[in-house]
């Protein structure tokens, strides 16, 4: 086990270093000079040269990479070329927003998806199913940005139920925080809700047709108990797996949602920094994302190894 762990850790480290290299080279391959973008309308050559020097942009790429790598190891991701704010602070303020938004969207999606899926399965062939299916079709086919815009126009501008944009940190005012995030979470969760609805419906239909449900019915159990306890519980295993897999899609959807609702999250930070060629921010964002993926993958692999010794043994033989 120890050698397996060491090998997996080593592989992860190599992956991480490779990821940083690819991103580092990638952002520099983009056309456009961050110093020039920053100099703005004035475009004074001396100023552009001074900016390049200040951020080390005139060093050879490998020197820049080495500086980046060594500084990153000590947790120093540099400062934003555009605002001079430390990248670490920017990441620290953006991450919680996206995490909270994703979690809320997941809750919204699970609530809507499971309930409507359940309804569609139980009321098969009736208007409730058509309604739920129609909702799923809409949820899957309507793009996030359009839904967001419509939600703002209808629920914020028209009815005044929710703020149209902005963010209040949870620790400052929990009620205002949830009020501001409700609409974005609804918009972001809509697509996922549709996926969950369809999954719940089909696995519920499978469950309802199994022998143990027939037995339960034969025993004279109440329908509510059959559906709610016996069928749903079994169906949820698949649903939870699918929902987990969709988490990645949720985070990429957050990029669009955050821009529409002007939320200072990770997605918005990523897109804005790419447009502004803010190299230190792009690198920081990618490093954090890549690390997160690698750590999660590592944990999952290790868990598999614990659960199923065959994987570990196969790994050792390989």
């Amino acid at each position: 086990m120890a050698s397996y762990l060491v090998r997996r850790l080593g592989q992860s480290l190599v992956t991480l270093v490779l990821a940083t290299m690819v991103v580092f080279a990638g952002v520099r391959a983009l056309p456009g000079d961050p110093a020039r973008a920053l100099a703005g309308e004035q475009n004074d050559p001396a100023q552009v040269a001074a900016i390049r020097e200040k951020y080390g942009l005139d060093d050879p790429v490998w020197v820049q990479y080495w500086h980046y790598l060594t500084r990153s190891l000590s947790g120093d991701f540099g400062t934003s070329v555009r605002t001079n704010i430390p990248v670490r602070d920017m990441l620290a303020s953006a991450l919680p927003v996206t995490i909270e938004l994703s979690v809320l969207a997941m809750i919204v999606a699970a609530l809507i998806g499971v309930l409507s899926g359940l309804l569609a399965a139980v009321r098969r062939g009736r208007p409730a199913e058509w309604f739920a299916n129609g909702f799923a079709l809409l949820g899957l086919s309507v793009p996030n940005f359009w839904l967001g815009l419509m939600a703002i126009l209808w629920l914020s501008v028209g009815l005044g139920l929710f703020p149209a944009s902005g963010f209040v940190p949870f620790r400052e005012d929990p009620a205002a925080n949830l009020h501001h995030l409700a609409l974005p979470a609804l918009v972001l969760g809509a697509g996922l809700a549709a996926v969950i609805m369809r999954q719940t419906r089909s696995s519920m239909l499978d469950s309802l047709g199994t022998d143990y449900i027939r037995t339960a019915r034969a025993k004279g159990l109440q329908e509510r108990s059959i559906v709610g306890v016996h069928a749903l519980r079994n169906s949820l295993i698949v649903v939870v797996t699918i929902a987990g897999l969709q988490l990645g899609a949720l985070i990429s959807g957050a990029v669009v949602t955050e821009r529409i609702f002007a939320l200072p999250g990770f997605g918005k930070l990523t897109v804005d920094s790419v447009f502004q060629r803010d190299y230190p921010v792009i690198q920081g964002v990618v490093l954090v994302t890549a690390s997160a993926y690698i750590v999660i993958n590592l944990l999952v692999d290790l868990l598999y190894g614990l659960i199923d010794p065959r994987i570990r043994v196969a790994g050792e033989v390989a």
């Binding site: 920053l38 004035q42 303020s93 149209a164 963010f167 200072p264 918005k268």
Partner: protein, 540 residues
Amino acid sequence: MSHPRVARLLAVPVAALVLAACSSVGSDASSSGGQASDDVGAAAGKVKSGGTLTVALSAEPDFLDPTLAGSLYSRYVFNAMCQKLYDLDSSVHIQPQLAKSMPQTSADGKTVTIKLRSGIVFADGTPFNSAAVKTTLERDLTNPRSARVSELGPIASVDATDPTTVTIHLKTPFAPLTAALADRSGMIMSPKQLQAKGDDFGNAPVCVGPFKLAKRVPQNSIELVKDPKFYDAKKVHLDRIVYRIITDGSIRAANLKSGDAQVADTLGTDDVQSVKSDTNLQVLESPSLGYQGVTFNVGNVAGVGKAPGKINQPYAKDARIRQAFELAIDRKALIDNVFDGLFDPACGPISPDSEYSTDAVQQCRGYDPAQAKKLLAQAGVKTPYSLKMLVTNTPASLQFAQALQAMVKQGGFDLKLDPVEFTSLLDQQDKGNFSVLQLGWSGRVDPDANTTNFVGTKGSQNVGGYSNPTVDKLLGQARQSQDTAERGKLYGQVQAQLQKDDPLVYLYRQRNLTGVSKKVSGVQVYADGLIRVAFAGYAK
């Protein structure tokens, strides 16, 4: 964004998205609500004290450091936070702000004396005086990353003659200096804070202003609070101003309608009608000092700032082809179709609102597609003459470019579009990797800042590599002259030469379209394009 998330050279209708340019809501200001902006801020008695004003900005400000800032959006924020030696009034005239009076220039034009107001303190409580002005100007001139060097011109030295007098010594006379001191170069920073923060001043700026920085959430918002130490604090009604960055125009308009924002900058021309139709809102429309146009690469062979060379293309060698291109454009029709007629046609770099404008400065080559074809025939090129134009890949920019493409076709041109992302466009533009480029400038009060850098041989933004000794000479004379009429005459001659050479076909001046809630009084938009909210307040 894009942006310009930064005020900078812009590919045309990025303008519509990014560039707010310069404008004035003066006597000719129009507004849908019938209430134009109030020149002296919110009149006491009409507004109540307190409240938070939210301003939706279309791009994020860059450094909140007057020496380093390059973005128009940082100027919005500075306006409430950092007062200047001079400011503009609603009719584009320069007025003293932290200075006591207009500057006195010696007979030879080389010594400028500025008297300062006394009894003023910075937000950190330290005194505002000539030493602070000297420290600030010297930082603007010597900091390697300063964006102010070219604006301040040929300053040899700055003396703090006495606590309320500053003397600026110039190497050569420089008329645009006062206008520069009415912009970021004139924002005086606290020497104590500069000493403490150095290049990080922008993270904790300290100036003289009605408001001071409270909090900045990167990419999201900037929050200012009222500064009780401000010398005119009794005229400040609001407690707090929040600048929130909302890049999408429709969402900015939606925030205005929902009441989440009370002011929104740079409304899209397609959003104007819906904002106007809302009885709680009004649109402030004000003309701009900037321009949008099409630049031909006539000599940028080695990159901007390098000596212009020869481009071996008919359009670069023969001015008749460029003149034909101008003749093929019906500016008014273009504006009516693409911008609902909300913008103004432009034929040259200087706005008709400028005090230096004359008939000669505004002379224009009208729409005449038949003549365009004739000129192309005279130039001996095969028609349709093919040209490739670099544009930004935003929908608004492409829409305008496509309209232009259709229009010049009538005059014998086959205009191909090359859409690229904004930062890439800046790169290609500077390197000279283009034939034609859609380009804009946010505009400045002094005409020198709208001309010399763009069409002067050594101009830092002469991306087309245009070089004409006559133009250089006239521009040089104009920037040294202290006489308004004489400068106007010289700029008329510059325009005549530009019309002949057509290195840059000026197309239109956008109007600043600012959405404002009727609950708020005293929001102003002047010729410098800034939204002034520092003295606004909520109506009683």
